[in-house]
């Protein structure tokens, strides 16, 4: 009987490690890494008379980065997709494993392989230290950060592996560009001197990044799990909660230090796709979704109004996010300081953020139960407003009034205030009317869904009573 892993380890991790340790990606990476590092060291030793290896630094980190930031994260892209294609996920779901544990097991397995690869580099770091007078602390820090980068990328690719191939390809490119922008300069040009990069010199930014990294990983795990989970599992709740926590952490960091103020906006940008996803979800059809929350009593019951799937709860979630962002903006002094025009711009921009999200959701058929309807309505609305505004601006001298009137419509809601030179108060009555209209449409359309949810919540309180 196999006794290679003890009982405490997740079954999915056991399976993934058994498979992963024999996979071509790991074996090729391992041999490639060792071969290239030996070659790099020989070239360094031969090309310098005093044995100084500092000239090979760029090559060393590029060689290490190749498997850690490319091969292993990309190998995770097949993780869940292959299981879906092979029709093996159904069999796993009939066990006690949840979708989250399945995705988490796959991610940890990739991270373990990355750690294994990184460990094989230690002799070369020691060699660089003894022969080349390299700063070993800086090398180890860089290797550690590269591992963190690898873990983040792997979380991203594992999450994407549950999505159809075309979408996956699109996001690979996006993720690759993102990683080059974010991680590339850090390692390629920063080396061990991370103090040169602004973010690392501010303690609140560093603390926020340290907290956000595990939150991001968990969020990616949930995004992957949400895609494959049986309908009775509630993954929307944890996804929304984690995105909210990221916003909370970045916003708090932004308030604690003026140098980290950009984090408020970064958190806002980060949470936006999750808001759109929440507004486009189908309402639950099974009571199992509510069970874990309603069993926690009144508080759980209240939380189920926001942290269960469906556009109707998503609407409330977006309102909550909006209020939180408003709180951060207000505490940061963006809404009430500076010249009058600037404050107005900020107020309009904040208002525009919420309305840009909610208005298409109300306009789209059936409250945008399908994501493409949401996007379509957003695009059509944007085009209409853009066309009217452009025409008006070109043919009239009253552009500020028009911008005020359309300030609540995307995309002017987001971009208009930034580029305009507002000097008059926005038409508050118009804003209020639009807000009331959005809420009224939501209230009218969501009533039957809330009634259905109430029935399901009632069923979720029942206990199973079997006979055999």
């Amino acid at each position: 009987m196999p006794r290679d892993f003890f009982d405490g380890i997740s079954p999915m991790l056991v399976k993934e490690l058994r498979q992963g340790m024999r996979s071509k990606a790991l074996i090729i990476s391992l041999f490639l890494l060792q071969g290239l590092l030996i070659f790099n060291a020989i070239v360094g030793l031969v090309s310098t008379s005093d044995g100084d290896l500092s000239g090979t630094t760029a090559g060393f980190w590029t060689i290490l980065g190749l498997p850690l930031l490319m091969i292993l994260p990309l190998s995770a892209l097949g993780g869940i997709g292959n299981e879906i294609k092979a029709n093996t996920l159904d069999l796993v779901f009939l066990t006690r494993l949840t979708a989250t544990r399945i995705v988490l097991g796959k991610w940890i397995a990739v991270v373990v392989q990355s750690v294994l690869l990184a460990l094989t580099v230690l002799p070369f770091i020691a060699l660089r230290y003894y022969l080349g007078g390299i700063n070993v602390t800086a090398d180890l820090s860089a290797a550690g950060l590269m591992l963190v980068g690898s873990a983040l990328l792997s979380a991203f690719t594992v999450a994407l592996s549950s999505y159809p191939a075309k979408i996956v390809r699109f996001f690979i490119i996006l993720g690759f560009v993102f990683s080059l922008q974010m991680i590339g300069p850090l390692f390629m040009f920063g080396g061990g001197r991370f103090g040169l990069i602004g973010i690392w010199s501010d303690w609140s930014s560093v603390a926020a990044v340290v907290v956000v990294v595990p939150l991001f990983v968990l969020l990616m795990i949930e995004v992957g799990a949400m895609r494959i989970a049986p309908v009775a599992e509630n993954h929307a709740g944890l996804t929304r909660l984690l995105a909210l926590l990221v916003l909370l952490v970045t916003g708090t960091a932004g308030l604690l230090s003026a140098r980290a103020a950009w984090m408020i906006v970064a958190g806002q940008v980060f949470v936006t796709p999750f808001c759109i996803a929440a507004l486009c979800e189908r309402p639950p059809t099974v009571p199992g979704v509510f069970r874990s929350l309603v069993r926690r009593g009144g508080v759980g019951n209240l939380l189920s109004r926001i942290f269960t799937p469906g556009w109707h709860t998503g609407f409330l979630y977006v309102l909550l996010v909006w209020m939180l962002i408003g709180f951060f903006w207000q505490r940061a002094g963006w809404l009430d300081s500076g010249p009058r025009g600037d404050a107005l711009k900020q107020q309009l921009s904040l208002a525009g953020f919420g309305v840009s999200l909610l208005l298409p959701a109300v306009i789209a058929p059936s409250l945008s139960r399908k994501r493409f309807l949401y996007i379509l309505s957003f695009v059509l609305l944007s085009l209409a407003v853009f066309s009217v505004t452009s025409a008006f601006v070109q043919n009239s001298g009253h552009k500020e009034e028009l911008i005020n009137l359309t300030a609540f419509l995307p995309p002017l809601a987001v971009f208009g205030p930034v580029f305009s030179n507002l000097h008059a108060a926005p038409p508050l009555i118009f804003m209020a009317c639009l807000g009331v209209l959005v809420l009224a449409v939501y209230f009218f359309k969501s009533r039957p869904v809330w009634r259905q949810s109430a029935k399901l919540r009632q069923l979720a309180r029942q206990e199973p009573h079997h006979v055999a």
């Binding site: 009987m1 196999p2 006794r3 009982d7 079954p11 999915m12 056991v14 399976k15 058994r18 498979q19 024999r22 996979s23 299981e83 294609k85 092979a86 029709n87 093996t88 159904d90 069999l91 796993v92 779901f93 009939l94 066990t95 006690r96 494993l97 049986p230 309908v231 009775a232 059809t285 099974v286 009571p287 199992g288 069923l459 979720a460 029942q462 199973p464 009573h465 079997h466 006979v467 055999a468």
Partner: protein, 317 residues
């Protein structure tokens, strides 16, 4: 006064089940009940709604309306509890790369929450039962079809389920593997498990199952024993007749006798169906054949094949 014995409670209860995929109404108001220890053959043409029904029973799909209870537990409301009581074997499934048979089963045993000693004991039991012990170190994705089916059955049995739902388990198996699989099912039935099994090989279902559930276009067409399915819409007797001379003589004779129909012909004669199954009528038929000069070498009564009943029922719909 003694109380009457309580009515048995169904292990599987399906009530007015409906499921559509777009415009295709796969299951239309399906209702039936299965009792403990029964072995049910689930029959239907391709697209009749068999797999959809079985997937709903296995908590892998959701009904549009209606309900399914396994051991009295609603599959929609309590899927986790239902999963502890069922074993599901799909018609198509994949295996894992870079894993041996033993590691494959060990993974699922861990996933079912079995701890070390219990897991090792259960793995030994299951591997012995499915005759996989010798294949333990073979790669799980390099097995023959029959071995793969045994592996899948082994996985299905790891959590010792009360109800087994097997979708086309014998499809693609060679005769030897089919017989082995049939024997395993009979052994499981002897252990008291309720087995719900779909197949296109009706003769084998007839040998394995005590009840047949026949559906078409998402509705129940027949629900009863294999014998009752054989006799469905049939009051006559099926007779196999062999002649010494020209087998065409039987066809000519049948045409002259309106109470007899030719079911199919073979090189020595053919199978005929007599309108009455009374022994006197069968004896009279034989007497008449001989009196009419047919060189009869063999004349015996045959059970109606399930395939024939299946086709006739489909024709009559």
């Amino acid at each position: 006064m003694s109380e009457p014995p309580p009515l048995p409670i169904p292990v599987i209860a399906v009530r007015d089940l409906h499921r559509s995929f777009g415009k295709v109404h796969a299951v239309r108001g399906l209702s039936f009940q299965i009792y403990p220890g029964q072995v049910i053959g689930f029959i239907g043409a391709n697209g009749a709604g068999k797999t959809t029904t079985m997937r709903i029973m296995a908590t892998l799909d959701m009904p549009d309306s209606g309900s399914v209870e396994i051991c009295g537990i609603d599959v929609v409301n309590f899927p986790t509890e239902v999963r502890q009581r069922i074993g599901w074997m799909p018609d198509a499934y994949g295996s894992y790369e870079h894993m041996t048979v033993l590691e494959y089963l060990d993974f699922f045993a861990r996933a079912f929450g079995l701890k070390r000693e219990a897991r090792e004991k259960r793995l030994r039991e299951v591997m012995d039962f499915t005759d996989l012990t010798e294949l333990a170190q073979r790669p799980a994705n390099k097995l023959s079809k029959g071995q793969n089916q045994r592996l899948c059955l082994g996985r299905t049995l790891l959590n010792d389920p009360q109800v087994l739902i097997l979708d086309e388990p014998a499809a693609g198996l060679d005769p030897k593997a089919r017989i082995e699989f049939k024997n395993l099912v009979r052994l499981l039935a002897d252990q008291g498990k309720t087995i719900f099994i779909s197949s296109h090989i009706l003769s084998e279902l007839g040998e394995m199952c005590d009840t047949m559930l026949f559906i078409d276009a998402g509705k129940v067409v027949h629900f009863g024993s294999a014998e009752s399915l054989r006799r469905h819409n049939s009051t006559g007797a099926l007779l196999d007749v062999r002649l010494a001379g020209d087998p065409q003589a039987l066809r000519a004779w049948v045409e002259l006798n309106p109470d007899v129909t030719l079911v199919d012909a073979h090189c020595e004669g053919g199978r005929i169906e007599l309108a009455s199954a009374e022994p006197e009528a069968i004896a009279a038929c034989l007497r008449k054949m001989i009196a009419d000069g047919l060189p009869v070498t063999d004349f015996h009564r045959e059970e109606r094949r399930l395939e024939d009943a299946f086709v006739e029922i489909l024709k009559s719909l």
